[in-house]
């Protein structure tokens, strides 16, 4: 019995750091996923709002929906606003993240996205952003303290 008890204690002492590493990694990965999900939702809402901003003059002239000229700016503005709720977890300011986002509007359909190669059959707003997320758990494991997450959102009236 004494021999078994010593073996168990030794095993625990040896495995504990490994268990802690796994635990920290899992928790940080979950937190990262949560931030990425919230950033993706912020991008989705921004592009949807931008698509709702239609050119009323063009609608009266042709009867067809066409994106307003400032649709990309509207998407960028709302993207920054929506990211504010996640700002403490981000590795850069929301304004900097929104400013560096690749946002393009395709007011007339059909159109081809030169960035992704996608073909859009309706007026479309596309957003691609690289979001630095703070990952202190990874830093404790001697990994990068900031992990970059890339999100993509595309919206059009359907």
């Amino acid at each position: 019995m004494n021999d078994d008890g010593g073996t168990a204690a030794l095993t625990t002492i040896v495995m504990l750091p490994l268990l802690l590493v796994v635990l920290v990694g899992v928790l940080e990965m979950g937190a990262l996923r949560a931030v990425a999900y919230r950033a993706g939702a912020a991008a989705d809402l921004a592009t949807i709002v931008a698509v709702g901003d239609q050119d009323q003059f063009e609608l009266a002239q042709s009867g067809r929906l066409r994106l307003a000229a400032d649709a990309a700016d509207v998407a960028r503005d709302y993207f920054a606003r929506n990211l504010l709720a996640t700002a403490p977890a981000l590795g850069a300011s929301v304004s900097a993240i929104a400013a560096s986002a690749e946002i393009a509007s395709f007011p007339i359909a059909p159109s081809l996205d030169p960035r992704t190669g996608a073909r859009y059959d309706r007026p479309t707003v596309r957003l691609i952003a690289s979001i630095p997320v703070r990952t202190p758990g990874f830093a404790a494991l001697l990994m990068p303290a900031t992990t970059t997450v890339t999100i993509r959102s595309v919206s059009s009236p359907r």
């Binding site: 949807i48 698509v51 239609q54 002239q61 919206s155 009236p157």
Partner: protein, 300 residues
């Protein structure tokens, strides 16, 4: 004494009463008289006059070596107004070329005919509304070995009798009457009426339109007489499926609709209107516009 006091008070009250002029309920049941348009608000186009002679047809008469281009009219008043908007010489261009419903002819050498452009108006509650433009040709050419246009413009009121040789009527089947144009105003017999729906008060008419779900959209019933917009007397919605709407009839106001429910994919809804205009109040016109409701959505 106690019994006489109330009687005395009642008598005093009755004697001091004043006849009251009570309101007669039936007097207030009628609708107020329609507002009389302010005559100051009317803008009378310069040079406007009442039409007494109406355009009938363009006439080309040839006598020996001379060909005369003139216009026949009929002494008839249709309650409309007209004014001269341009007088052109042979071969000269005008800003109104191509706008007259009867066109502007040309000499044998291709030069445009001389003559006068008239703009016709109808008087509505909103003022004088232009309905059409007509061109009165007045020119001639004489052959001297070759076709040489005489370049004569004769807008005078002289009633020169037309050559009684060969008369070719270019338009309308009405027998030509003596060509005496002079200063007579002109007016088309009956304008071509057309109705449509636009999304702006002065926008083009549309056969179909895409609208966003939840948005208030204004549909403007419009009527055109010879492709010139004219005021609407009334409109009525005959069939539609919006979730919310302003009214099913009106006059100067647009029809406002809103769709909340999304249609099935590929399904469009139609709005059908019955429209009456001020120019032809008894002529019933119909206009239809197809509506496709869309909503912003994510693309996979």
């Amino acid at each position: 004494m106690k019994t006489r006091t109330p009687l005395l008070l009642t008598t005093i009250l009755l004697m001091s009463s004043v006849p009251g002029y009570a309101r007669e309920p039936r007097e207030d049941q009628g609708f107020p008289p329609p507002p009389v348009p302010d005559p100051v608000a009317f803008v009378v186009p310069a040079g406007l006059y009442y039409v007494t002679d109406t355009y009938v047809a363009d006439v080309v008469a040839t006598s020996d070596a001379t060909t005369v281009y003139s216009t026949t009219t009929v002494h008839q008043s249709t309650g409309t107004y007209a004014r001269v908007i341009d007088t052109v010489d042979t071969g000269a261009s005008s800003a109104f070329d191509g706008m007259a419903f009867n066109g502007r002819g040309a000499l044998t050498n291709g030069q445009a005919l001389a003559g006068t452009y008239y703009e016709n108006f109808v008087l509505t509650a909103g003022g004088y509304v232009p309905v059409s433009i007509v061109f009165f040709q007045d020119d001639s050419e004489t052959k001297r070995g070759q076709s040489v246009p005489s370049s004569t413009v004769a807008p005078k009121a002289s009633s020169s009798s037309p050559p009684a040789v060969t008369v070719t009527q270019r338009r309308d089947e009405v027998p030509p009457s003596p060509s005496t144009r002079g200063q007579v105003p002109a007016e088309p017999a009956r304008p071509t009426m057309r109705a449509g729906i636009s999304l702006a008060p002065d926008g083009p008419t549309l056969a179909s339109a895409e609208v966003l779900r939840g948005r208030l959209v204004q549909f403007w019933p419009r009527v055109f007489a010879n492709d010139v917009a004219v005021p609407i007397r009334s409109w009525r919605l005959l069939s539609a499926e919006p979730d919310r709407l302003s009214a099913i009839s009106g006059s100067a106001q647009p029809f406002v609709a809103q769709w909340i429910r999304m249609p099935s994919p590929g399904v469009s809804w139609s709005l059908r209107f019955e429209i009456f205009s001020e120019v032809a109040p008894t002529e019933r016109l119909e206009a239809v516009i197809s509506v496709t409701v869309r909503s912003p959505a994510l693309v996979d």
